[in-house]
């Protein structure tokens, strides 16, 4: 049966001159395994340089468990699972993958470290490698090999995933946030050619937002609930673009309460009821996606997952009309510049693991060119690679609507800037200090007190 489907796809791909991306999408839709996909890619001339798929014989009979975050692009999650399973079958290693919501990775890892037992490989998000630096195996050898494959690591990757310059985990990039917006609504609000003329500053965006909410009936949407993705994705860049940051480069001086930030916050608080959907204070990372996809919003800050979900003809959120009308722009700038928040995910091997050889072998294979490229492609451009090698892949350059996401790397800062994404930055993030300063300011209307309270909390955290 698999051979039949593979043959059908090969014939289809040759006749229709499918791109590599289309072949992968069709293969996923037809339920082909990663192994079958590999043969189809080879037969259609889309295979990349071959990588050894077999680990040393000493691993055979072992086992490997991984804790990975669920993917906002569902097909990519299935693809990773296929990759892991196929590698396990090829090497006689019993591989299992547990997928959990990414905000739960940190507490689950905490429990595993405390218990001294659990997954062998854990996917880490920014700041997590710092939290568990004493419980992670040194993987600088694999990270160095992966760095060669990636053509070097971007600055934002080193600053967010390395622990004091050392690799306790191997970075594999992350999704960035831009403004996803409905072109037709912005045109109705008086913006001519929004693709080339998207509001460049926050103030301009808020002004258009007022028209969008009042006259078009489609407000801006911004999640400001206690969630670790979209709320900080907006609040940190907005803070930075108004001359504020958690900490100076010395790592001890809190630089949060600035005149520029107070002014910027005042502007935002005034714009909130007039330009935004006010229920955003209770939204989590998924609420703005569903609000946008149900045609409630004109724009929201998000990864490319909204657009990809709407574009996927076989997905449950398929909406060609919204997909066609959706475009992306980098976040607007403030008086002190234009920024985005970006921290790399990485794969770490836990030091309690009895399967360290299997874990190393898997990661060595997975971070080699072919499987890593295939994994990136399965995300259809949602995940930004950690280095320049793969930035020219069709998934990033074929669709001009996704171009904004590649620009994020140039304006990205890490949590905890101007310091590293360390334990303190993780605490400030977990306590939602920055996000709640915004939420408090909106709720009370007292900008000065909200910022003072936020600064006091940062002082407490950074002085411990």
């Amino acid at each position: 049966m698999t051979e039949d489907r593979s043959a059908t796809l090969i014939a289809e791909a040759k006749a229709m001159r499918y791109s590599r991306r289309t072949v992968m999408k069709r293969a996923s839709a037809m339920g082909l395994s990663a192994a079958a996909l590999g043969s189809v890619l080879t037969a259609t001339g889309h295979a990349v340089s071959a990588a050894p798929n077999r680990a040393p014989a000493l691993l055979q009979g072992g086992s490997l468990n991984m804790l990975i975050s669920t993917a906002f692009v569902p097909a990519a999650q299935d693809f990773f699972n296929e990759q892991a399973t196929t590698w396990g079958e090829d090497n006689s290693v019993d591989v299992t993958v547990d997928f959990i919501n990414w905000p739960d990775l940190q507490p689950r890892t905490t429990s595993a470290v405390q218990a001294g037992a659990g997954p062998d490989i854990v996917e880490m998000w920014d700041a997590i490698p710092y939290l568990f630096s004493e419980s992670l195996l040194d993987v600088s050898d694999i990270a160095a090999a992966a760095e060669e494959v990636q053509g070097g690591y971007f600055d934002w990757v080193v600053k967010s995933a390395a622990v004091d310059g050392e690799w306790k985990s191997i970075p594999h990039g992350n999704s960035g946030a831009a403004m996803a917006y409905r072109k037709s609504y912005f045109e109705q609000a008086g913006v001519t050619d929004p693709e080339n003329n998207f509001p460049a500053t926050w103030e301009e965006l808020f002004e258009v937002g007022k028209i969008l909410k009042e006259e078009v009936g489609k407000p801006l949407g911004q999640a400001l609930g206690q969630s670790l993705g979209d709320p900080p994705g907006f609040c940190y860049p907005y803070m930075w673009s108004h001359g504020s940051m958690e900490i100076e480069e010395d790592g001890t001086t809190v630089a949060f309460d600035t005149d520029g930030f107070r002014e910027g916050m005042e502007t935002f608080v005034n714009a909130w009821p007039e330009a935004f959907d006010e229920t955003g204070l209770g939204w989590d990372d998924s609420t703005n996606n569903s609000a946008y996809l149900s045609d409630q919003l004109s724009a929201t800050q998000n990864g490319s997952s909204i657009y990809l979900a709407a574009s996927d003809p076989e997905g449950e959120n398929s909406n060609p009309e919204i997909a066609e009308d959706t475009f992306h722009a980098t976040l607007p700038s403030g008086p002190d510049g234009q920024f985005a928040m970006l921290g790399s995910r990485s794969m770490g091997i836990m030091d309690y693991s009895p399967n360290q050889d299997e874990a190393k072998a898997f990661l060595e294979w997975w971070f080699s060119a072919e499987p890593f490229q295939a994994w990136l492609e399965s995300f259809e451009g949602y995940i930004l690679p950690p280095g320049p090698t793969f930035t020219e892949l069709p998934v990033y350059v074929d669709d001009p609507k996704l171009a904004a996401y590649l620009e994020i790397a140039d304006i990205a800062r890490n949590k905890g800037y101007a310091g590293p994404s360390n334990l303190k930055a993780a605490q400030a993030s977990s306590q939602y200090v920055i996000v709640n300063t915004f939420a408090n300011a909106i709720q009370t209307g007292d900008v000065a007190t909200a910022i003072e309270q936020g600064a006091a909390m940062l002082e407490r955290i950074y002085s411990r």
Binding site: E278, G282, Q431
Partner: protein, 313 residues
Amino acid sequence: MSTLQETRPSERLIVPDVQEGFWTRFQRRESSLAWLFLAPGLLILILFIAYPFAYGIYISLTDAFVGFAERNFIWLENYRRLLDDPIFQKTVRNTFVYGVGTVPFKLALGLGLALVLNQTFRFSRLYRAFLLLPWIVPTAISSLAFLMLFNGVMSPISWVLEDWGIVSGSINFLGDPINAIVSLCVANIWRGVPFFGISILAGLQAVPDDLNEAAALDGANAWQRFMAVTWPVIRNITLIATLFSIIWTFADFQLVYVLTKGGPANSTHIFGTYSYQTLGYTDIGTAAAISLYMFPMLAVLAVILLRYVRRDD
């Protein structure tokens, strides 16, 4: 053999046999048997309750972070620092609001439901089974249902009220601090009423019908019959149910975590969610201290309620 034959049976019972083995003596003692039966339960208690509790107290007195070997004994520093923490202050206040805002309603509604379902009417058994539904549905799942109902953008409640002309737009259920805590209380009450209902219903089954009939014949009205006949029978079970409900409400986690994660702006944290949030960045010492702040409050409450129950026994 000869010794046994010369001794009367009564003397054999009284005079201990110095030759008797340990096992025989052990079997003969009633207390031994009691300890034997108690042992499994006691072992479970020690392993899974007492040890973690003691370890929790120890951890709360240190500056331990998960994954870092170095830890120092800092006595009550974590507890002292929490007193200055504005989020913890909110957490304490919220926990009391959450308890006071739900337990009386759960009690009143549960009592009412139990009194109704204690009557015999068509499909009464079916309704009794339905009463249990909110209780048997896993909390995480019912919380997700409430998350959908309280969605800020697409809430069926908002749609219905908007259609009836009661509200003009989406209700900001979880984005406004007061609305959020009220929403949490409503969801908690919905989930908690069946426990009271079923517990009190069980108590009501023990109320003798003839007493009620006799009181009615003597001219007592429904309220007098309830106070004089029914209440004394169900009082203890009601108090015990209340005690458990207070403990569970104070120690709640799932509902609040799923609906608000303690937000917006930390305005709905209760002990469990704030402790979890703190553990998120591996600060297990402070997280343990937050949880343990709950213990003396609940212990005092439990003692008061149980003394009250025993006094009347």
